[in-house]
């Protein structure tokens, strides 16, 4: 009974919030519900035993992969809902339940897809009937907030031991730490990876954390690498190595998104939907090729006659991948790039990590515009990355709206401007490009 009231209250809050345009109401209805009934998520979940819940966690790619999976399942005539990007703590999940249920707490859907924050995964596993878990990767990210990569992996390992044996588990087979999570449980486990032909990283880059064996701490040997610490690894000390990684190398796939990281995301989505939902692989691939990207995740926005592509870049590995995607986007066009660094809570207060990004690779861009709360931190970084071409190549503009206008006017008609922002900077950028003022 109390849950019906909480749902009613929450739904009115969402409506109220939408009318007044004060945020999307994506976390606070759930926050209030959990305050008044801490078992809210558990109770709603057990009321909906037939709902298949897919949980997705990992440092990078959660939103894109969720959207891909949703797209594939909907194409296959299933009813699906998905928590809003960023609302990936317990309160976000509770809000998503409130938004999509009727007053009796019934969720009239076949599938729920939840992106889950790294530290929230062990908590949520105790609360809901999980059907399928997808773990994408673990990179260095906001150490001030998430803590260290090894600690997260250890907590996941503990949590997975208590999971129902009928759960599907999908793991990145090229990430040693994620791969090793499949060793100590007997869930229905599958590994995804990418074809050898995309593995062109020559040496271990600077931003890696997990190149030591998860079992014996000996340095791993890689025969091929795709990016960061992902690749074909083997430990010569204890024999730890990959087996049964599905790469879809023998399939012809027109990947709908660019960048190596998106081949991982796409292969993860294909493997999950075909195995856990029993859809033939050929059909899944066909659906996948029709996928359209989201804002901040490769959507092309037309703005004042220019093409703008926003690539959310919130940690060293993500940034390096965005830079690679920017530079390789077109053979005959040197793009302009606007890089925006904020240091608010969703971005992480510590900006040290920009020194782990290989910004010198962006020197092939035509102009680089620098902005955000920490404009000058970023400017110092570029001063050292670009050396002699720093003065001539960069424009420093603290005010984001002015920076966007400058970047757009520096870009020729029908040419492309890449914007590489941290999380809160991406939200601001979206508001500016959409013409809506920030409240």
């Amino acid at each position: 009974m109390i849950n019906a009231l909480l749902i009613l209250l929450g739904k009115s809050l969402i409506k109220f919030g939408n009318t007044l345009n004060i945020g999307s109401g994506s976390t606070w209805p759930g926050h209030i519900a959990l305050k008044l009934n801490k078992n809210f998520i558990k109770q709603i979940s057990s009321k909906n035993k037939n709902l298949k819940i897919v949980l997705i966690a990992g440092t990078n790619g959660k939103t894109t992969t969720s959207k891909l999976i949703k797209h594939i399942l909907e194409k296959n005539s299933l009813k699906v809902f998905h928590n809003e990007a960023g609302a990936n703590l317990l309160n976000g999940i509770a809000s998503s339940f409130i938004k999509n249920s009727n007053l009796s707490g019934k969720l009239p859907y076949d599938v729920a897809i939840f992106e889950i924050d790294e530290n929230t995964l062990p908590l949520i596993l105790r609360e809901i009937n999980h059907y399928s878990i997808l773990l994408l990767n673990l990179f260095r990210d906001q150490l001030d907030r998430y803590g260290e990569v090894n600690t997260i992996a250890k907590n996941w390992q503990q949590a997975l031991k208590k999971v129902d044996k009928n759960t599907f588990l999908f793991l990145n087979g090229d990430d040693p730490q994620i791969y090793s999570l499949g060793q100590e449980n007997d869930l229905k486990t599958y590994y995804f990876g990418i074809s050898d032909k995309y593995m062109d990283q020559k040496e271990i880059p600077h931003d890696v954390d997990s190149v030591y064996c998860p079992n014996c701490s000996h340095k791993l040997n890689y025969s091929k690498m795709s990016y960061s610490h992902l690749g074909k690894f083997k430990c010569y000390n204890c024999g730890f190595k990959q087996e049964k990684v599905e790469t879809f190398a023998d399939q012809k796939i027109n990947y709908p998104l660019f960048g190596k990281y998106n081949i991982y995301n796409t292969n993860a989505a294909i493997l999950l939907t075909s195995k856990a939902f029993n859809i033939p692989t050929e059909k899944v691939i066909e659906f996948t090729e029709e996928f359209k990207p989201a804002f901040g995740r490769q959507e092309i926005v037309k703005y004042k006659g220019k093409n703008i592509i926003v690539l959310l870049s919130k940690n060293p590995t993500g940034f390096n991948q965005s830079i690679e995607a920017t530079i390789n986007y077109s053979k005959d066009e040197k793009p302009n790039a606007l890089v925006v660094l904020n240091d608010r809570i969703p971005d992480g207060r510590d900006v040290s990590w920009i020194w782990d990004v290989d910004f010198n690779d962006l020197s092939l861009a035509k102009k680089i515009i620098i902005s955000g709360d920490r404009t000058f931190d970023l400017a110092i970084r570029f001063k050292y990355a670009l050396n002699d071409s720093f003065e001539q190549k960069t424009i420093i503009e603290e005010d984001l709206e002015k920076a966007i206008n400058t970047a757009v006017s520096q870009t020729e008609e029908n040419k492309t401007l890449f914007i590489l922002p941290t999380y809160s900077a991406m939200l601001e950028t979206r508001k500016i490009l959409g013409g809506k003022k920030i409240l």
Partner: protein
């Protein structure tokens, strides 16, 4: 004076480099090269010959995550620690950040209460009060006025550590806290300076926004190698100044900005 060169040693770059600390090496190298000083960078990790430490004019070591620190601690105690101690006692200028700073003390008491012996170079010790006590995390602003180095403006960075470090009798703090936690959140001290070696909790990384510290290390290294003071040519540090001002303005309102 022509044909100046320095050998800079970067200890465990693959293991002790979690918080963007390679920025410190990038800055040291470039600020030498901009003044025509040739840099020979030696990366010294697990497999390296420990005798390379004897050839270094300047030493740097960054912070890391727990697992990596364990691996490094073992190698230091069993292998390279004694030569590192000799170099520091011999006044080789050096910079140790966070976990590296803690290693050089008398001991580190873990969250579980295990005492891990350090290299016993710095007159300090560190204790982690347990996993339920908050880590010290946030922007940090310090004032540097010690017997070796005085900087007139505020020095800014970011700290993130569970351990609390205490100075033993006779130890000289590197700096005083203007904002943030520092060594232990009690005595307002930050870091330690011992001979020409600096231990500090400042990430950020420390040197890009605070290039005076980089120049201090370079000057000391040149003095040690060539036996006389060599004036360093001034460089344009106006962006660095602005980056510091943004932090100071945000966290120390009321202070004199021009300080």
């Amino acid at each position: 004076m022509k044909n100046l060169s320095l050998t800079i040693g970067w200890l465990y770059p693959d293991l002790m480099s979690t918080y963007g600390d390679r920025g410190n090496i990038i800055v040291l190298t470039k600020r030498c090269e901009d003044r025509g000083i040739k840099v020979n960078l030696e990366k010294i990790s697990l497999e390296a010959d420990k005798n390379k430490i004897k050839e270094l004019d300047l030493i740097f070591m960054g912070g890391a995550q727990d697992k990596q620190q364990e691996i490094v601690n073992k190698d230091l105690i069993e292998n390279k620690g004694s030569l590192l101690k000799r170099a520091i006692e011999d006044e080789i200028p050096s910079l140790f950040i966070c976990g590296a700073y803690q290693f050089l003390g008398k001991y580190y008491k873990t969250a579980e209460g295990h005492k891990i012996p350090g290299l016993n170079i710095f007159p300090i010790y560190t204790e982690n009060p347990g996993e339920n006590v908050k880590r010290l995390i946030g922007n940090i602003i310090i004032e540097i006025r010690n017997s070796k180095l005085e900087i007139r403006n505020f020095v800014v960075g970011f700290e993130n550590h569970g351990g609390r470090t205490y100075l033993l009798n006779g130890a000289e703090p590197f700096a005083q806290i203007a904002y943030g936690f520092g060594n232990n959140d009690k005595d307002k001290t930050e870091g330690v300076i011992y001979k020409n070696a600096i231990g500090t909790y400042l990430h950020g990384p420390i040197l890009p926004k605070n290039p005076q510290i980089a120049d201090f290390l370079i000057e000391k290294a040149l003095f040690k190698k060539y036996g006389k003071k060599i004036e360093l040519e001034k460089l344009d540090d106006s962006i660095e100044k602005k980056a510091r001002e943004v932090v100071v303005k945000k966290y120390l309102s009321g202070y004199n900005q021009t300080k």
